[in-house]
Symmetry: C2
Subunit: 370 residues, 2 copies
């Protein structure tokens, strides 16, 4: 099975497509659920499938540290380990090294840092990031990149982008698994010229897919959107485009309008755990006393397990009583909400009414989501 991206249709810059992976087909644009430690927090694989999750994203950095990628390989790979039969994408660990690790020292050779778990010294090289992901057996692997914060001085941003290109080349050379495509990551922050140069250099290396990294790292949504369109335009149109770590429902919509195919974000699950549900009428803070006697579901037209089975009053009660089931049920709903939004986006593109759909959702969500 060789990875393949099928671009089925466009509507303006929005793209309808399909990823053919070793674990099945993914309809794009797609939102991927974050399962950092080989589990989407609090949800069983069956609950993820019911919520319409097509792809789970797992974190190279976390899994290499615990339980270890070799342990997972020995146990038959990440799919078997977590009992998830649909596709898995693994990030490269780059982002976590910068956000979680302590005492980071980075040069062209490697990132050297201390584990956030036990403080032990660890080293991540492009070759090692690839080997770990090959051990995990994900359906899509990512190159190791350097992801500086958005307010990094221009000269360092330049160094990080050049290092990202250099590392992408080394990742490609090190990569062996034919059943696993390796995507490159474009850096450059909100510096458009740098982004485009980075995208062009990586395009010349000919990867099966490209990610835009270094967004959602502190810049405003407007800054992101301004940089996003030319950054997406600079990527080859026949390859999938993945905007890492984004975002709110409205962000997804606006990014699809700029030609993005893939997304991941902790927001649906993290907000769910924090008693916050996404609905078409805006975010619902379920701890709010207004919900105490409300027999209605979170969303009356939602067909997720949570909305079919439980009232706002019950969900309110679970959070007030600090019951584990509350975070689980809100995460289920939020992932189902994201799945539904993506399915609606795909349908709108296929029916050539994406611009209209965007207008409608902007009007509905404008106040509640941004």
């Amino acid at each position: 099975m060789t990875f393949r991206f099928e671009l089925k249709q466009t509507d303006g810059k929005a793209r309808l497509g399909r990823l053919h992976t070793a674990h099945g087909i993914v309809e794009t644009p797609v939102f991927m659920a974050v399962g950092t430690q080989a589990t989407v927090k609090g949800l069983t694989p069956a609950q993820l499938e019911e919520a319409g999750v097509q792809v789970v994203l797992a974190n190279t950095y976390h899994l290499a540290l615990r339980p270890g990628d070799e342990v997972i390989a020995e146990l038959g790979g990440l799919h078997r380990f977590m009992n998830w039969r649909r596709p898995i994408l693994t990030d490269s660990g780059g982002y976590q090294v910068y956000s979680l690790a302590a005492n980071l020292k980075i040069d062209d050779r490697a990132a050297v840092f201390r584990s956030h778990i036990d403080g032990s010294f660890l080293e991540l090289t492009p070759e090692k990031a690839v080997r770990i992901q090959e051990n995990l057996g994900s359906d899509i692997a990512m190159c190791l990149d350097e992801c500086p914060p958005f307010d990094t001085p221009a000269d360092y941003r330049d160094i990080a982008a050049r290092r990202t290109i250099h590392w992408a080349q080394r990742c490609k050379t090190a990569h062996r698994r034919l059943d696993q495509p390796l995507f490159a990551i474009v850096q450059g922050g909100t510096d458009l010229g740098l982004r485009i140069r980075c995208a062009e250099a990586l395009t010349q290396l000919d990867f099966p897919g490209y990610a835009l990294g270094g967004f959602s790292v502190g810049e405003t949504t407007q800054q992101m959107l301004t940089a996003l369109e030319p950054a997406a335009d600079a990527l080859p149109s026949n390859k999938p485009r993945y905007l890492m770590g984004v975002g709110k429902p409205l962000d997804l919509l606006l990014a699809v309008a700029r030609g993005i195919d893939m997304f991941d974000c902790v927001m649906p699950t993290r907000n769910g755990r924090n008693a916050c549900a996404f609905t078409n009428a805006g975010q619902v803070k379920i701890r709010n006393a207004a919900h105490q006697r409300d027999s209605a579901p979170l969303e009356s037209d939602c067909s997720c397990t949570t909305c079919r089975q439980f009232s706002r009053a019950y969900l309110h009660h679970l959070f007030m009583a600090d019951e584990m089931l509350g975070p689980t049920l809100l995460s289920v709903h939020n992932l189902a909400f994201y799945s539904r939004v993506m399915a609606e986006i795909r349908r709108a593109i296929s029916e050539h009414r994406f611009a209209e759909f965007c207008q409608d959702r902007l009007a509905r969500w404008g106040g509640g989501f941004l």
Copy 2:
């Protein structure tokens, strides 16, 4: 629908029966899962059904405090509130008043105490305990009792037992719902004479079922077993007998052998949340490093969702990484284990080989469970 207990068969003192309730039939002997706050911690109703749970026990004290029994009544009762379609038994709040409430003052009129949630003053009378349970709409309600610790001085134990009888009478008088049987609770600690006098007095009041309270409150297993047999013998044989708050798998077995039909205990779920799984080979501490690379399930012959889908290595990883899914998956297994034990007990009784079954399980479990 009127409640009915059908005694199908006996084998020695062990009894095979059926409870006919407003929400369906319960095969006895039965173990009931504890769902204190209208949720068995971390499990959806679907997961409970898959684990073979026949009855959920909810707590009057907790639910009266939060969200309030009138809120639940307004929302259509406890079954609809928590979306559990099988039977529910509610305890009376007596045990929680003594174990959780602060500044308890108790006399024949009422128990007056402070809420463990916000310290507000509350009062529980027999009439109020009944009204709360009628509001909740459980399939089996319990009389308010007084449950002193096992080392209570004899004179107070006597007072508590007499008050329990007096309150049972008042509960019966106050009770209105015809679809809800009200069970009486026998107290008396390990004082056999007192237990038997209490049982006789309550039997004269003619309740549809009887519970033995005040066990598993600090006495040894041997003390419990010694008192249990005559206490059970003192109850009418045509009514169900419920041993409250017990227990370990071996306790269930030994109590069935003494004529008990119903049980509840937090052990399968609490131990599950604390990384401890029940198996026929003893308890498995899943955090133990021995499980790190173990591709086997918790129990190879267990058909629960956890054992069918996940390895010990994965469960070990979830607990080491503090992931919510670990407690959920171990609770599922432990409840399925308890369901399986009860089903095996019922089969053994029906095939008149319960004594043999007991011997076998005593030999298997003796070291691991007691």
